[in-house]
Symmetry: C2
Subunit: 308 residues, 2 copies
């Protein structure tokens, strides 16, 4: 799957993933109104609105980008109905040829980790049959539990040709509380990065491993160091746009081949119509605003990479 | 909710939580056969079998214990149908008066963490209405992202009178890879424990905080130290029984008031009928075997606490 991702990045020229993180207050009123008229102001109504919003976004941008990253929390908050909207979104994105990165940040051990991995990436056996639960292509994983928490995911990836992005240095302000603490004179995130490189070394595609890392755009200096520690690791970079990261901050996350990183933007794309810059599209034009924002982001990153 | 948990522990005399982690291979054949006859060897059939198995277990043990801890991965592996069985299990356990600890080990930041917290502990707003998504009483949380990942959960707990158990030192063999690394001469899990105590200090019930910790039974020496670092913190202790922890290992997790810890057993209870000790119950008697195993576990812990 890492090869598919890389090919799609090359084809689109856009090392970009759109975060499908639908907060209800991002959703244009006409979408909410229609869903609530049909299903009431209920969990079912919210889930329907989220799904219609996502469908409009995907239809508007799928030809420009290699991948999407639905954040499962934004669906899980609506309970079972929300999870149904997550599944519909994953299925639809795959139909449209997009690589789907499930931002699930799961982390557990042994048989529990296998259950997560089979449910999200692989197949679960039921009697003589086997079924995909959610069927994403990649998922994000939390490393706090160590190898016991990661290896079961890796095993499923090896079998299913899927991939992971393991949290190394997250984009949030307090990520340093534990991740930056010095161990033998070096921050913990470097040790985690080394482990990711080690786990990934046995999971190689052609030039890159399918065991990737998450490093926030908001920490460009750390990104530069981690790029060197994990030369064969694809880095998923959140924090662009709304969280403060800019194109120029991103260059060190990429290798000299122009690959090795994929940058996420969520709010900055899917709620672009709320920004002054794209206000002329109006609420009804939210999907076109998202398309314009993707094109601008592509140009920003390409410009920064060309200028380095 | 911490007061409710403490009262139930006192009333039952059992600082025990039963882990409802239904692997399909734990399920007696008669349960699988019936569910598959009705729904086929499908995700729906698996989910129905899991639910019937859980119902039998809960009916057999609910009067002996204060709480259950369903591990959501074991449901999530069956996709949407599995999640439905999770919700049914949570609802049924609450009907039976049990405290429900959702073992979800989520961890994310800002609005995403709020979404998880509202979905699992609190209510999500949809227009003029608000709904519980899953409605657990406590959830487990991963601290790798720092305060940004924990505080949104705490806010929802304060509003809803719910609680957390934050991973500090996990029970698995490789938990030391990152958690034991020395920071200023002290293992990382001690720093995490200090943070848990700090976060919890503003979230007090009567004697204990509703911000708890997870510390594995398999690390009794670390438990002893963490007990001192977090004197007001309730500790959820996994790893008893099948993972190797014994009653005697547990005494240091408790305070002198005999409180402060709740010990989880999953496989050792719910699949007790597979052990030689309880084999006479047979597969059909799996629920009675579970009841016997709970009584034995209660005696083991009480004996160890009396002997200290």
């Amino acid at each position: 799957m890492i090869q598919t991702l890389i090919e799609k990045i090359k084809k689109t020229g856009a090392p970009i993933v759109v975060g499908l993180d639908p907060m209800l207050n991002y959703l244009p009123k006409h979408i909410q109104k229609k869903a609530f008229a049909e299903y009431g102001e209920t969990l079912e109504g919210a889930a329907e609105a989220v799904w219609q919003y996502n469908k409009g976004l995907v239809d508007a941008v799928y030809d420009l980008i290699p991948a999407v990253k639905p954040q499962i929390a934004m669906y899980e908050q609506f309970g079972l109905e929300g999870i149904r909207a997550f599944k519909r979104t994953v299925d639809y994105c795959k139909e449209k040829g997009l690589v789907v990165i499930g931002d699930i940040k799961r982390g557990d051990i042994g048989s529990t980790a296998i259950a997560y991995a089979e449910g999200h990436l692989g197949k679960v056996s039921v009697g003589q049959n086997a079924f995909y639960g959610f069927g994403e292509d990649f998922v994000t994983v939390n490393p706090y539990l160590g190898s016991d928490g990661v290896k079961p995911f890796i095993e499923v990836c090896q079998k299913e040709k899927k991939g992971l992005f393991i949290l190394v240095k997250t984009s949030n302000p307090s990520s340093g509380e534990f991740q930056d603490r010095l161990v033998d004179g070096r921050p913990l995130y470097e040790l985690v990065g080394e482990k990711v490189a080690e786990w990934g070394s046995e999971c190689m595609g052609e030039d890159y491993s399918y065991i990737g890392a998450v490093v926030g755009a908001t920490y460009p200096e750390q990104g530069k160091i981690l790029r060197k520690i994990m030369p064969k690791t694809f880095i998923l970079v959140p924090g662009y746009g709304a969280q403060g990261g800019k194109g120029a901050d991103l260059v060190h996350f990429f290798n000299e081949d122009g690959l090795g990183a994929i940058v996420n933007s969520s709010r900055g794309i899917i709620a672009a119509y709320k920004q002054e810059k794209y206000a002329s599209y109006g609420e009804e034009g939210y999907a076109d605003a998202a398309r314009a924002a993707v094109l601008d982001m592509k140009e920003d990153i390409a410009g920064a990479l060309a200028a380095r």
